[in-house]
């Protein structure tokens, strides 16, 4: 979240990706939301020292990215952008947890490093799954799916309103921020006084826009709800999709896939 303009570009890019038309794009959004939730719960339910068993879980985002023809490099870069946070939080573990758990020849790996690696892998998995879900579904569809899964309508309205006007306001905020940067020679503004009035002005313009918008909406017959788009159908394909990925996640949760593969391979080696 470096700058307003960068964030806007990201929003637009993900939004455009969601407009794709592959088999996974066409699935009912509820199926994708449910499968992603099962995936995330399975991933985070591992013990803190588990690393190898997490690796096979990459199959879920990888398959969806491939099947949805999403740009893997772009999504990987977005995941990498979040990685510093995971590193910052996890880097304390090697210092506090020094008991050696795994011996690899002469090299002893402490529990701290294992759990650190586990945190980084978990972050990559969960972030990749969330971004893939957004890029495959689009925010409005996710909202609709959540409403049909039980989210209150008023909150869904708020989300849709926010998403609709986010672009306009972020552009306005970005312009104000850039103007201030130019006037302060690239530094981040002139302190609290200018920051307060900058935000205040942004807020005033925002408020006036909301009032104009409300009148325009009333003039067009706004009754308090958005007209709902046609609802998708939770058919056999959706059912199969959820069933397949949930089963796979639960199996991978119960059996350490990487280690089974490893013993299989090392078993054949002399």
């Amino acid at each position: 979240m470096a700058s307003v303009h960068g964030a806007l570009l990201d929003l637009k890019r993900l939004d455009q990706l969601a407009a794709g038309d592959t088999a996974v794009h066409r699935l009912d959004p509820r199926a994708k939301v449910l499968a992603t939730l099962v995936f995330i719960v399975c991933v985070v339910s591992f013990g803190r020292y588990q690393v190898s068993a997490l690796i096979p879980f990459f199959i879920f985002p990888a398959c969806l990215i491939a099947a949805g023809r999403l740009p893997a490099g772009y999504l990987a870069a977005k995941v990498a952008l979040v990685a510093p946070f995971a590193v910052a939080v996890g880097i304390c573990n090697p210092f506090f947890d020094r008991s050696v758990l795994v011996h690899l020849g002469p090299l002893g790996i402490t529990g701290g490093w294992l759990s650190f690696a586990s945190i980084v892998v978990r972050t990559a998995l969960t972030v990749a799954a969330a971004l893939t879900l957004t890029a495959l579904t689009g925010f409005a569809s996710i909202c609709r799916a959540l409403v049909r899964l039980g989210m209150p309508k008023a909150f869904a309205m708020q989300l849709l309103f926010l998403y609709r006007y986010l672009f306009v306001l972020a552009e306005e905020g970005g312009r104000a921020s850039r103007a201030r940067e130019l006037r302060s020679f690239g530094r981040k503004g002139l302190g609290l006084a200018s920051y307060g009035s900058l935000l205040g002005h942004l807020l005033l313009r925002t408020w006036q826009r909301a009032e104009r918008m409300h009148m325009a909406m009333l003039a067009r017959g706004y009754t308090g709800t958005f007209p709902a788009a046609q609802g998708g159908r939770f058919g056999a394909r959706e059912f199969a999709f959820v069933l397949f990925w949930s089963a796979l996640c639960i199996i991978l949760r119960l059996y350490n896939g990487a280690e089974l593969l490893g013993t299989l391979v090392t078993g054949y080696l002399p």
């Binding site: 794709g20 088999a23 399975c42 339910s45 199959i59 971004l131 005033l204 490893g262």
Partner: protein, 350 residues
């Protein structure tokens, strides 16, 4: 202060989801009852404002760092508690879905820490009580500052507690607290100063905007207390399942602070259920020959019998690494094949 999925256990994540979902349901019901249809576009647009404002930094003089607005208290002053809560929650949701700023499972925690605490707890119970019906400017300024500070401290405290109960991070509770609270004291001071600056600007420019939050239809203490109670019961339920695994709660917490993770803490909640299921269903001969294959048992064997743990660990480590490499290759291969077979499909316009 956004929490990530990677540090959370499913029990904590689900409990906080339940609390936040309850808050969202309450807030939505309350808004529907108010029937102020001007509020809907206003909330949407203010959410956009908050989103933009959170990304405009300002430099804090003398420190070289920069800060920005978080906005819970400011929105509560402008909109009233339930509308402010829903607005903050919606912004958090956009951030989770588009920027991976806080994960999907952690969304419940984040909505609670950054939305529920300032808007539904601190604003009605601290700000409204202290500021009184017709406050002077000094008093209002002091109360605004104080509320922002309290909200930030409580939020940071909850982050620490949620992380500690999850037990993924090895950071001891006391050290984590000593790290988080002072940092968020500074952040809270900045937050209070910014909120104050914006509020005093609005008071000069359009004072009538500041009357909306002061309407008597604020969330009643009863509702807030009820939701906190529900949260406490849920969290306590999660906690007691942790504690009951050990004979002594104190022993558990001591072991925790000392950074020596015991096996039992991974055995609680969904993780524990799955691990137990795993033990029952593990019938592969290779699997049983390698004790470290059961997640968490690596630590148990190492702590109870270091010798055996080391010997067993060696075999499983090799298998684990080979398996990791093989599964990476498999994942990459299947993704590659899927992409090739999918080449004929219509590409999304990127």
């Amino acid at each position: 202060m956004h929490m990530a999925d990677a540090l959370l256990s499913p029990t904590v994540g689900a409990a906080m989801w339940a609390v936040s979902a309850g808050g969202v349901a309450l807030g939505s019901a309350r808004l529907r009852r108010e029937r102020d249809d001007r509020l809907a576009p206003l909330m949407g647009v203010l959410g956009g404002f908050l989103f933009a404002a959170q990304m405009i930094n300002f430099s804090i003089p003398g420190t070289g760092s920069s800060g920005h607005l978080t906005g819970g208290i400011l929105l509560a002053i402008l909109l009233g508690p339930s509308a402010a809560f829903l607005t903050v929650a919606s912004v958090l949701m956009i951030q989770a879905f588009f920027f991976a700023d806080g994960g999907l499972l952690a969304l419940g925690c984040n909505i609670f820490n950054l939305g529920m605490i300032p808007a539904l707890l601190v604003y009605p119970l601290c700000y409204r009580r202290l500021v009184g019906p017709a406050p002077g400017r000094r008093r209002e300024a002091a109360v605004t500052m104080f509320s922002a500070l309290i909200a930030m401290q409580l939020g940071a405290l909850c982050v620490v507690l949620e992380t500690a109960v999850s037990g993924i991070s090895a950071l001891p509770l006391d050290k984590f607290l000593l790290l988080m609270q002072p940092i968020h004291l500074a952040i809270g001071l900045v937050e209070g100063a910014v909120t104050l600056a914006v509020v005093s600007f609005l008071r000069k420019a359009r004072p009538e905007l500041l009357t909306r939050g002061n309407r008597p239809s604020a969330v009643s203490g009863r509702v807030v207390l009820a939701s906190v109670l529900v949260g406490a019961v849920l969290v306590a339920g999660g906690l007691s399942r942790f504690a009951s695994e050990k004979p002594d709660g104190l022993e558990w917490s001591v072991a925790k602070v000392a950074g020596q993770a015991s096996l039992s803490e991974h055995r609680a909640g969904v993780g524990g259920f799955l691990a137990a299921l795993q033990k029952k269903t593990a019938r592969f001969p290779e699997y049983q020959a390698v004790p470290a294959a059961v997640p968490g048992s690596a630590s148990a064997s190492a702590s109870s019998a270091p010798q055996a743990g080391a010997v067993a660990g060696k075999g499983s480590a090799v298998a684990g690494i080979v398996g990791t490499v093989v599964s990476v290759l498999l994942v990459a291969g299947s993704a590659f094949l899927l992409r090739r077979s999918n080449r004929g499909a219509v590409a999304p316009e990127a």
